[in-house]
Symmetry: C2
Subunit: 335 residues, 2 copies
């Protein structure tokens, strides 16, 4: 028996409740600034490096919050999640901390590091083919059989509220730095992170435009915002940003994003790789391609940032060494 999935969007109060749940468990990542980079680009850039978060991405925040909300009597039946990798690790780690068995349905072509780490957290991994199988159906069948709770990657108010804690932190940390934000850029796959962050900022920094950033070919949210209705990506699209390959905006996240976002931006694989090299050089952090797209949008002029103060979320750092070496090599070639 599974309980039906929640469908109401979260509120700012839900984000504050999530912040209380994850306090002392999640890392309060710093808001970093690199003055020499600022000099170079003529803007003030603030980076929220969620690669330093437990499990190497922001996903731990939502997963811990969501699993904490499962009634104690149901937690023992476990959780089921489907994920390209970062959500998987977030759920697996949070489940371990909360003594809940976790099963993760993962694409068979996910980076090796993500599968290995998910299993190392003690989760059971069930692979599927992302081009021919339906992960939601696999997850629903498993949950039906075991009574486990489905922990969706983004279309869940508890997940969105957990990710939104980043928005609360950005507002507070920008104030500590005497920085008055002109815009906030956040990557977007299914839209959980950006919708939660925008919701938090609508309360703590009202009027500051929040933009979502997607990989080229996976700019479904940008096109959906432009058209007003949910659009999908081409089934044969490919991107190096493996964390951001959701096919279409979420049912809960899209109405939030439609209400809250200033718009959408898209970056190329090369722009993402160049941003990874900048994060290495200027901030000394490791970003994965999908984690670097917001920084990439700021650096590659997708928005006019001259003279502005821009916060960008660096959402994760789970990248194979070979891809990171490629980012460093491309940066060297560009010098």
């Amino acid at each position: 028996m599974t309980s039906s999935l929640p469908t109401d969007p979260p509120t700012v109060a839900d984000i504050r409740a999530a912040a209380a749940r994850i306090a002392g468990v999640a890392v309060r990542t710093p808001l970093l600034e690199a003055p020499l980079l600022n000099d170079r680009i003529g803007a003030r850039l603030l980076l929220k490096p969620e690669c330093l978060q437990r499990t190497g991405s922001f996903k731990f925040r939502g997963a811990y919050n969501r699993i904490s909300m499962i009634p104690a009597g149901d937690r023992g039946r476990g959780v089921v999640a489907y994920s390209s990798g970062n959500h998987a690790q977030g759920v697996a780690a949070a489940a371990r901390m909360l003594n809940t068995p976790a099963t993760i349905i993962m694409p068979s072509d996910a980076p090796a590091i993500k599968r290995a780490n998910t299993e190392a957290w003690g989760a059971t991994v069930v692979p599927y083919d992302r081009y021919s199988e339906n992960r939601e159906a696999i997850g629903a069948a498993l949950a039906e059989r075991t009574g486990a709770t489905i922990v969706r990657p983004y279309d869940d108010p508890g997940i969105i509220a957990g990710q939104g804690t980043i928005g609360l932190e950005i507002a507070a940390q920008a104030a500590e730095l005497d920085a008055s934000l002109d815009a906030v850029l956040v990557c977007c796959g299914g839209g959980g992170l950006v919708s939660g962050t925008a919701l938090a900022l609508s309360d703590t920094a009202p009027g500051v435009p929040v933009w979502c950033v997607e990989p080229e070919g996976f700019d479904d949210t940008r096109r959906s915002l432009d058209s007003g209705t949910r659009q999908s990506n081409a089934a044969d699209a490919h991107s190096i940003c493996d964390a951001l390959l959701a096919p279409t905006p979420g049912e809960i996240t899209f109405p939030l994003n439609k209400r809250l976002l200033a718009g959408g931006l898209a970056v190329s694989d090369d722009e993402a790789l160049a941003a990874m090299a900048t994060a290495f050089e200027a901030f000394k952090v490791v970003l994965e391609p999908g984690g670097a797209v917001a920084l990439a949008a700021a650096l590659s002029g997708k928005l006019p940032i001259a003279g502005k103060t821009i916060a960008v979320v660096g959402s994760g750092g789970n990248v194979d060494p070979a891809v990171f070496r490629r980012a460093l090599e491309s940066a060297k070639g560009a010098e």
Copy 2:
């Protein structure tokens, strides 16, 4: 006219005063933990990633504290520092923030990134040959001529107190994580960071052994601690750890270290490179070779750490991309 250089060792009160001066200016770097790495090594490892500090290393703390202590009437005549690179950037950045001209005497073979960044901070760089010239003499002559204040890299109580703020933070952050420390490992060039950190911990975590870690061939402090008197390194020694090449323990730092440290450890270049790869994979941070030696000592079994809780300082991340690629390649080869 230069004022004579201070020679009294700092006190814990000096470190607390330094913490107040740098609050809101320096980054309070988080204390990171990677549970999967802990599982693998059978110990609890806490990493203080000072690569995230302004200018990419801990050196900013001491420099900002020291320059803040220069009487306002003297600051306009500027500061002079000699440094292999990280102290240079720390002094240059702190001087810029405090509106003080900075001249940096830098080895002509320092990594390109370090010289470029020092100049980008607005400092004047004067190169010297580290094998044939005496940087102290060059600095003293320059200070004599201009009236600038010499900001030594480690043998200065204001510098040591500034670096010691890391010890205060480690103690507070370990408590927040419910971690009871069994040992703290800190890299050592001239000994400013480790002596300040050990002094702070002697007050905030009394009884916790603090070890210094040096590169093989530059283990002057280890040998000095063993013999009880200050030893020097061979003039022809070489190491990839360019931040840790001081020739002999400091006049102020060594008596502190002799009183406060449990002992010294040394690691090879390969061990430092392997630790850089682990920092990449497990903590998503960029460490330079010298910044990785404390982590390297923990990972390579220089101390028995099984079942223990060990804090290590990752002191900096100013590394050329080619060296970082080499670290990632060596890690892959070791798999």
